[in-house]
């Protein structure tokens, strides 16, 4: 899952080397924190969060084998 977020984020931004991802396993969920360069924020969020929503949809599919929910936060 972590890897999927990383591949997608790096493919979308202008500064792929500034993409960093942190995954924390919690009791009922995985929390994936995605950090990108400030000028790339728009490229992973999109108008009205359309891109962020698409990333979440794809990662959710990647996580169907997991029993836990996946939460992606862009920070």
């Amino acid at each position: 899952m972590r890897e999927v977020v990383e591949i997608l984020a790096k493919a979308l931004v202008d500064n792929p080397d500034k993409v960093s991802i942190n995954m924390v396993e919690r009791e009922k969920s995985f929390l994936i924190e995605l950090k990108v360069a400030p000028e790339d924020m728009g490229k992973v969020i999109g108008k009205q969060g359309r891109i962020a929503k698409a990333i979440r949809t794809v990662v959710k599919a990647a996580a169907t084998k997991q029993k836990k929910k996946v939460i992606i936060e862009i920070i």
């Binding site: 890897e3 999927v4 990383e6 591949i7 997608l8 493919a11 979308l12 202008d14 490229k43 359309r50 891109i51 929503k53 698409a54 990333i55 949809t57 794809v58 959710k60 599919a61 990647a62 169907t64």
Partner: protein, 207 residues
């Protein structure tokens, strides 16, 4: 852009090795012969191997193939990615078993993936290309289902003399319904509401 150089006895052999290593087909590569092979004198003096440089062609379709390959790999999904580029359109079809997870509910995941691939390959490009992603002919099947549904609901609207409201759909799916019913003069179709909850209404025409 990925490139490698290979040496072998013949040019063909060197090219074959390079393509194998990059995992691409002949038509997906630009090939440059750096050094022609030489058999030398009596096969002893001045024997030189062939040296070629193989570069992966940097087209939008091939970039899309690469990104999808990476994403599928990270998801542990085995699928063959087939790319067909024509003019402004890039058609990508994924083939494999058990790809339902990539389609998602009503093609939700498929649409998300198509959107992300399209954004990333068209990033900073002067000429954008439209990406059409499909899985095992899902879109075609969905189109047929929607066309049948449209006809059924149009008949229902006429028989009952009342509006029939469909569930929310994206613009492509709404278009399929509108198109399927545009030839009918007993009903009219229009859309109402805001994205992403915009939905079609089929209204009977009163005489």
């Amino acid at each position: 852009m990925q490139a490698i150089e290979k040496t072998a006895k013949t040019v063909q052999e060197a090219v074959k090795q390079a393509l194998n290593e990059l995992g691409i087909e002949r038509e997906e590569a630009d090939i440059e012969v750096v050094e022609e092979p030489s058999k030398g004198l009596f096969g002893i003096l001045g024997v030189k191997p062939a040296r070629v440089r193989v570069v992966i062609k940097n087209t939008i379709g091939l970039r899309a193939k690469q990104i999808l390959g990476n994403v599928l790999g990270a998801m542990d999904i085995a699928a063959e990615v087939k790319v067909h580029e024509e003019n402004e359109n890039v058609h990508i079809n994924l083939e494999g078993s058990d790809l339902g997870v990539l389609i998602g509910r009503r093609g939700e995941t498929l649409d998300a993936l198509q959107y992300l691939v399209s954004l990333s390959v068209n990033k900073n490009q002067e000429h954008r290309k439209k990406i059409f992603l499909d899985i095992e002919g899902y879109r075609k099947r969905r189109e047929e289902t929607l066309q049948k549904l449209a006809i059924k609901l149009a008949d229902k609207a006429r028989q009952r003399g009342r509006n029939v409201v469909l569930e929310p759909m994206n613009s492509l799916e709404r278009r399929i319904i509108h198109t399927a019913l545009q030839g009918r003069d007993d009903i009219a179709t229009f859309s109402e509401g805001e994205e992403p909850y915009r939905k079609i209404i089929i209204a009977p025409k009163k005489y």
